[in-house]
């Protein structure tokens, strides 16, 4: 009975979260053109794009090619590659880009810095110290950016109240089943990030092409380690100091995602670990009306979702194993395997199942909405069915590991 109460409560919270986002989304979209055309900007700012690298000889060229293809005046771009102590040919490849790059005015608009390995935040801070650009952002070397993305992002900085803009992040050329699952997950993230921005509640500015006002980042003291999630830490620090973070879902960035479960597990443990440790650092924001939707709803729900994932996983695992045990015990006693019944009488019509199906349908709608605002396509990604079927079983794996590490403050590695 207690277990049922917990299940219904958690399902209510999950469903409420989805419904709330959808209601807000529909309200914002009502009477508004779906067009996401780039608005004209009278005077474009100078933009610094930082590409931090650690052993990126395989991917750096692709990232740089996409940077060079950006539809933005070259003379207004300050491209800084920071080699954070690579041991492969990353530095040589970066320097080849400099040699091949034409001189614009009196200076080259691409520079390379080499430093001893100190972490991504130190690479970003080095670039921060060495640029005079008005806007600064990072492009991970394993990501590529759409040609019009920078213009879409910069157009939002036309509003002086905005301190940072996040893009729409997509999976780069998904091939494996796991990458297709992540593709659907990223479409859902596009929607969530857009809605969080609408609610003034963005608490992660992804490393892939989030842009900031340089002055804001300097005033806040630059990037910090942030428990290996510097993008989340900076976003929370910005929220704490009242800065506004917008979102440009149509500014597409494509990032490489893990191909294997092991790689995904490692990446997500790092993210979730940082998520939990940063939550502890910024716990004063939870339930705090001063932070509006972020403090009252988004952060508490995000934390509850972690507990929900673990609870449902353990419950399903427990009952699943119990069921298997009972079936084997039954076979051992009777010698006969149970056969399924196709009698319509036994068709499951429990309230729990109906609510779960509604929740799944809503997730499907949110993924489709994410796909629509991110890519203009109405159909959800091909990996959506797999995402709905399997993702719930994958998430608790890294959540549990991250919770364990966070409790014992064991730390995580980037690679």
């Amino acid at each position: 009975m207690f277990g049922d109460g917990v299940v219904y409560t958690l399902l209510f919270v999950s469903l409420y979260f989805e419904v709330f986002l959808l209601v807000t989304f529909l309200e914002k979209r009502a009477g508004r053109s779906a067009s996401s055309a780039v608005k004209g900007v009278s005077s474009l700012p100078r933009v610094c794009i930082v590409v931090p690298c650690l052993n990126e000889e395989q991917t750096l060229a692709h990232a740089m090619a996409s940077v060079f293809a950006l539809q933005y005046p070259r003379e207004l771009m300050d491209i800084i590659i920071v080699d954070d102590g690579s041991t492969d040919r990353t530095l040589q490849i970066a320097e080849e880009f400099v040699r091949a790059c034409p001189v614009v005015g009196a200076e080259r608009h691409i520079r390379v810095f080499h430093k001893k390995n100190g972490g991504k935040h130190t690479a970003l801070n080095l670039a921060l110290q060495n640029t005079d650009a008005e806007i600064i952002g990072c492009l991970d070397a394993d990501s590529t950016v759409a040609p019009d993305a920078l213009m879409r992002v910069v157009s939002i900085f036309g509003n002086p109240d905005i301190s940072a803009v996040t893009p729409g992040v997509h999976v780069k050329k998904p091939k494996t089943a796991l990458q297709h699952i992540q593709n659907a997950e990223y479409a859902l993230s596009v929607f969530n990030r857009f809605m969080f921005a609408t609610l003034g509640s963005v608490f992660i500015t992804p490393g892939a092409f989030s842009m900031y006002r340089t002055k804001t980042v300097r005033d806040l003291g630059g990037w910090r380690h942030g428990h290996s999630t510097e993008d989340m830490e900076l976003a929370l620090r910005m929220q704490k100091n009242g800065h506004k973070i917008a979102n440009a879902p149509a500014a597409a960035v494509y990032t490489a995602t893990p191909k294997t479960l092991k790689g995904l597990f490692r990446q997500r443990v790092r993210w979730t670990y940082g998520f939990l440790r940063n939550f502890v650092d910024y716990k004063f924001m939870f339930g705090n009306r001063a932070y509006g939707n972020l403090g009252l709803f988004i952060l508490p729900t995000a934390l509850i979702s972690i507990g929900t994932g673990i609870y449902f996983f353990v419950r399903i695992l427990w009952y699943g194993l119990e069921n298997i045990y009972d079936t084997f015990a039954r076979i051992a006693i009777t010698g006969i395997a149970p056969h399924p019944s196709f009698d319509i009488f036994y068709f499951n019509t429990s309230a729990l199942l109906i609510i779960a199906l509604v929740t799944i349908t809503l997730v499907l709608i949110l993924i489709s909405a994410g796909s629509l605002i991110g890519t203009g396509r109405r159909m959800p990604p091909a990996g959506t069915p797999l995402f709905i079927l399997l993702y719930g079983f994958l998430v608790p794996l890294w959540i549990s590991a991250a919770v364990f590490r966070a409790i014992f403050k064991m730390g995580v590695r980037w690679r």
Binding site: Y16, L199, K244, D326, S341, Y346, I355
Partner: protein, 237 residues
């Protein structure tokens, strides 16, 4: 569109309230729908039981008229095998559902038990009069958490009835508040050591697997095994 993002950090209570109402409505609809389907199931069982009641009455009338008819006219399996057997599975399923009217379910169980007793008495009479070699097994169980082997005993009997469809197995909830059942427990001297089996009027306590029962009932061999699929006999758990 992007400019609309700005300045909305403060909580908008209207949207929170609308979302709450919608979510609550979804929950209420799900609970109502689940309840509706369970009520449909209960109605289906009730109809079946009413039909069985009529069948038994018909068979009793046939039996009264036996002097004028031959035993061949009495169809031994006409009631139990066709409709009474699947009911136990359905009742067992409903017991596991959370949103079922427990009072109504209890009433159905009592009705079911009464029908079983009537069928048992009638079939014993038919067997005696017509000199049939019928084998009767009465199974007493408890689903109040005090009988860890009852579920397995139910599975054993289900498997047994699949092997020997002519076997007549009747399952009774030891704790059911039904005077006819209490009388039967008293007549058979059934002790509260469950699971309990009454096989040919002799009591056996504790879990008995198929081999045990075959040992107790060597005449099972003469009933003959069948590979055909038959309705399951499953003890109510």
């Amino acid at each position: 569109m992007d400019n609309s993002i700005i300045g909305e950090r403060a909580a908008q209570w209207k949207n929170y309230a609308i979302a709450f109402v919608i979510t609550a409505a979804i929950f209420a609809t799900a609970l109502y729908a689940s309840n509706y389907f369970n009520n449909r199931r209960i109605a289906e069982i009730r109809t079946t039981q009413d039909n069985i009641s009529i069948d038994i009455l018909s068979l009793e009338t046939q039996f009264e008229l036996l002097a004028e008819h031959s035993c061949r006219d009495i169809s031994e399996n006409s009631v139990l095998s066709k409709e009474l057997r699947p009911l136990v599975d359905r009742l067992s399923y409903l017991e596991d559902q959370s949103s079922v009217d427990e009072e109504e379910l209890l009433r159905l169980k009592r009705y079911y038990s009464l029908l079983q007793i009537k069928d048992l008495l009638l079939m014993k009479k038919v067997a005696t009069k017509c000199k049939l070699k019928s084998v009767f097994i009465l199974y007493f169980y408890s689903n109040e958490g005090d009988c860890k082997d009852c579920e397995n005993q139910g599975y054993v009997l289900t498997a047994l009835s699949e092997q020997y469809p002519q076997l007549r197995i009747y399952s009774f909830d030891y704790n059911l508040d039904l005077s006819a059942l209490q009388t039967m427990l008293s007549i058979n001297d059934v002790e509260n050591k469950l699971p309990a089996l009454s096989i040919n009027d002799k009591m056996y306590y504790g879990l008995k697997d198929i081999a045990d029962i075959e040992k107790i009932l060597p005449q099972l061999a003469t009933l003959g095994k069948t590979a055909t699929t038959t309705p399951k006999e499953k003890a109510l758990r």
